[in-house]
Symmetry: C2
Subunit: 274 residues, 2 copies
């Protein structure tokens, strides 16, 4: 089957066009796609250049390209629309109905969905990222009283990337604390965590998967042994049960999915970007 | 003006619906929106629950709600469509044209756009995140030979969040190295950086903004003094010029915008998720 070229066009970062396009393209699993992102199309020259590039691909590929675009300004959209391909434009599709519904005119300013239009919300994301880094892996600051959520789990269960994603995507303050022999031998959680009990959320993972991940880090020794991995996961589970801590098995889930489940389960608010 | 409730509905994480919705809503800057994300609508019961919630808001709010939805399966979409509000559905709008263009049927499997449908690409993002953490702030590993890009800049110019974002969003291996008095006094970059010269990318920031950010961290002392901030930025600029290192002023840019500009300028490939 011929590979299709897919363009993601934007007057800003291209994140929205990419996200939309990927969601749709994953519905066609048998196909091969070549991705080309063309961001920052914010002048007539750049729009013409992009249109020429699309036409070039259209002339050389077996099938015409697919174009996901999020250009806000009519003058640039008009230029792109002349290029040969299947055009899927979210502003074309949805701006009209929204305009009518809200009885308001769109600003037509280059999309700031991923910009700093709301500086407060933006700084919150950066501060949340710094917080996640400072409170990673039971880190030094242990500022759990200002955390929105504190993730618990054994080493390599997915705590760190999930905290960073929660911070960057949603401005959520997420700390994490590793469960180790110390907690398992005591059979209880430390007081500094129990004081924040309603913020706790557990991550588990299946033993085989955890072994695989740990072996990539340290191929030999107790850390990635069957016995140790099983022991840690069993004891972590016991602690989650003892304190009635909600938890999720991360084996089959991406960080987006884990993050979304944590927010859904805890009711922590997304500090979104608009 | 009455606040509008906006729903983001998904059978998975809700990230696509949120991203799309935010891009469109930022075009209507005078309006107030209340955001409600309802992820993981993957059963008839959950679809009915969501529809009832939308109807409840519709009955109590002054204006009917706006619904951005990315439900793949017809049976759940049909239930949601009965709810009262403005429906903006990316699958309704774009799946038909794509189906026709590709001459293929969509799988109708719950969207895995933010899932692990491509385990290799997913693990790459996690590995890239670990890489960013290990190579943060001139960190211990200094694995610059496997980096895609190495960001340079003074303390608090935005290196760390940008590297983490590049990793989480695109699976790009981004290291960062802080420019300090050591480099400024020598008037040159260390050899381990010069060996990777084509990977270097600089971040600058305006002095006032940098002072503001630094003062939030340490309110007194040389670190956030006018003189020191100006000195560091001037010397960093000199180094960028000396070695002809592409760089961007981050003062007005979000991490999405910085990341997108870096990829655009360096030509580093997005290791995307589909």
């Amino acid at each position: 089957m011929a590979e299709r070229t897919v363009f993601f066009l934007s007057d800003q970062t291209g994140v929205t066009a990419e996200t939309l396009g990927h969601s749709l393209l994953t519905q066609f699993s048998g196909q091969e796609f070549r991705h080309v992102t063309l961001p920052f199309i914010d002048s007539v020259d750049k729009a013409r250049e992009a249109a020429a590039r699309i036409d070039g691909v259209s002339a050389s590929d077996a099938a015409r390209p697919i174009i996901f675009s999020t250009l806000v300004q009519d003058q640039f959209r008009d230029i792109i629309r002349e290029a040969s391909g299947l055009h899927l434009d979210i502003f074309d599709a949805f701006l009209g109905p929204l305009e009518h519904e809200l009885d308001a005119k769109p600003t037509q300013e280059p999309g700031r969905a991923h910009g700093m239009s709301n500086i407060g919300a933006y700084m919150n994301r950066i501060e949340a990222t710094n917080f996640a880094l400072a409170n990673d892996d039971g880190g030094i600051t242990r500022n759990y009283e200002v955390a929105d959520v504190v993730l618990l789990g054994v080493s390599r269960s997915g705590k760190t990337p999930t905290c960073l994603y929660l911070a960057l995507q949603y401005g959520v303050y997420a700390a994490n604390y590793p469960l180790t022999d110390e907690e398992f031998e005591a059979g209880k959680l430390p007081d500094l965590l129990l004081k924040q009990r309603r913020k706790l959320f557990g991550l588990t993972i299946r033993p085989e998967r955890l072994r695989q991940i740990r072996r990539e880090r340290r191929s030999v020794g107790r850390y990635s042994s069957v016995q140790q991995v099983r022991y840690e996961l069993r004891e972590a589970e016991k602690l989650f049960k003892r304190y009635n801590i909600p938890h999720v098995d991360t084996t089959e889930f991406s960080i987006e999915e884990i993050a979304s489940r944590i927010l859904d389960s805890t009711g922590v608010e997304r500090r979104v970007r608009t």
